[in-house]
């Protein structure tokens, strides 16, 4: 199978002297389920941000479906991002909007019909145990509930690539199991998944490729 994503000697340096990523190179095959792990501050979130083009690398190049991200024009960025779902570590939800609106937003921007949106959003909310919370503003949710809303928003539009940054950090073990099951289902349907986590239990016994980052360097390329 061909590569959906390729990183070539990607570095990210924050001024003045923080090297968050140091010449990272790897490829991800279409349909792969990849774990990225490493201690706190290793550069996991930075790596996902670069892939999502929320930030630009200091040097090196990232290819998505064969196309270098540096060649993306500003106008193309939103359309590029629609192909990718991102569960942010700090959720990045619209705090004053309802749970439903937060999830629906990623379908609305694509001009999908209202009924279709309603059906898909309610289905995913139910699967994540958020039924009954649809109209509650996100700011009133518990930490775990917010995390699940962020997850719902990332997967509701069935992205080609799912980036999940610590998606179970606020969830109890039963919910974590459920979420991992959802990930496995999505992966089985063809979604490529990159999951950043420090929780060894998540990838243990799963026999997936695991990349280990430490101080911005890839320990097992």
């Amino acid at each position: 199978m061909e590569d959906i994503l390729t990183l070539e000697r990607v570095s990210k340096v924050y001024e003045p002297n923080i090297t968050a990523l140091d010449e990272v190179s790897f490829s991800v095959k279409r349909g792969e389920f990849l774990f990225i792990t490493g201690p706190s501050g290793a550069g996991k979130s930075t790596l996902l941000n670069l892939i999502f083009r929320a930030e630009k690398p200091t040097s090196g190049e990232i290819y998505f479906e064969g196309r270098p991200l540096s060649s993306l024009k500003k106008k193309e960025v939103p359309f590029f991002r629609r192909k990718i779902g991102f569960v942010f570590q700090d959720f990045k939800l619209l705090e004053n909007r309802s749970v439903f609106e937060n999830v629906a937003i990623s379908l609305e921007i694509q001009g999908i019909g209202e009924d279709e949106i309603r059906r898909r959003v309610l289905k995913i909310l139910e699967r994540l145990g958020l039924s009954g919370k649809e109209t509650q503003p996100v700011r009133q949710l518990s930490g775990g509930e917010k995390q699940r809303v962020a997850l719902a928003r990332a997967i509701v539009n069935r992205p080609k690539l799912l980036l999940a940054d610590e998606p179970t950090g606020n969830l109890d073990s039963r919910r974590t199991e459920e979420v991992m099951e959802i990930f496995e289902d999505l992966n089985a349907e063809g979604t490529t998944i990159i999951l950043a986590t420090h929780d060894e239990a998540l990838y243990a016994e799963r026999h997936r490729r695991v990349l280990v980052l430490d101080q911005g360097r890839l320990l097992n390329p």
Partner: protein, 290 residues
């Protein structure tokens, strides 16, 4: 339909910010248009007062009416002149008597001693004012003209007052205009900066700039239109009040103050709308992350 819903949502989420921002714009604009009003009315008012000022051309006593006609047509050729009126000596005496408000004072004067007068009024007294001296010298050179005299001191005084008011109003208008522009821009920016995170998030989940800024800009248009309409309404109410108040001081006062005309109103409203839209556009653009 869909867009309308999003518009409504947009408004609902930031209703307070939009409301206060609009209020500030209304007040700023009201001040601005009020002073515009003051400026144009002062202009109009002093103009009208000055209109009463005339040039008196004293003719030689016992001049023939043919000569008078010739001089009259001569004067009428001047581009500034609006009207020329002939006053026979008897009328001059009556005028003098009116000036002194008592006949006995002038009982020693007989009409024979008095020259007839041509009373010349002008289209634009203030513009005329500058070349009046020149004109009066020229007129004095005409045969049959005895003496040209005008209430120069009053005209000068009024003209100066007008210049003074003009400079002050223009400075005021400039200051208020600058402030209004600045405040509109800033308020729009402040009210959007409260939604920094929201705009950031929207741009991160793949919304296009058009999708995010669309409702914001449409609301900016509405905001600008509503604000300028309200401001004009407010000033119009003040104008009506002033009209009444003025009637008490100027018994002869008629027709009311001058208000902005249709094209000025159009310019004002579209200027404000443009400012709001531009402010919103720049402010919201800052928070998009592409």
């Amino acid at each position: 339909m869909r867009f309308l819903k999003r518009l409504f949502l947009e408004f609902r989420v930031a209703a307070w910010a939009y409301f206060t921002a609009t209020l500030v714009i209304v007040l700023g604009l009201a001040v601005f248009s009020f002073f515009g009003l003051v400026y144009s009315n002062l202009n109009y008012f002093t103009q009208k007062v000055a209109q009463e000022l005339v040039l008196n051309v004293y003719l030689s006593p016992r001049i023939t009416s043919k000569e008078v006609k010739k001089i009259t047509s001569e004067i009428k050729k001047e581009p500034l002149v609006a009207e020329v009126r002939f006053l026979p000596p008897e009328e001059v005496l009556k005028d003098l008597e009116r000036l002194f408000e008592e006949k006995e004072l002038l009982s020693g004067i007989s009409p024979d001693f008095l020259p007839p007068v041509l009373v010349v009024s002008f289209k634009d007294p203030f513009r005329a004012g500058k070349s009046l001296k020149e004109l009066s010298l020229r007129l004095e050179g005409l045969p049959g003209v005895f003496k040209v005299q005008f209430a120069q001191s009053w005209l000068a005084r009024l003209a100066n007052l007008r210049r003074f008011l003009e400079i002050i109003s223009l400075w005021g208008l400039f200051l208020v205009g600058l402030t209004t522009c600045f405040i509109i821009g800033l308020v729009v920016r402040f009210s959007l900066s409260q939604r920094k995170e929201e705009l950031e998030v929207l741009s991160l989940v793949g919304a296009t700039p058009g999708f995010i800024q669309g409702p914001i800009l449409v609301i900016a248009v509405l905001q600008g239109a509503v604000a300028s309409f309200l401001a004009l309404l407010l000033v119009y109410i003040v104008k009506i009040y002033l009209d009444r108040a003025l009637l008490d001081f100027f018994p002869g006062f008629q027709g009311g103050l001058v208000f902005w005309n249709a094209s000025q109103i159009t310019i004002l409203i579209s200027g404000v709308v443009f400012l709001c839209v531009l402010g919103s556009y720049w402010a919201s653009r800052r928070y998009l992350r592409y």
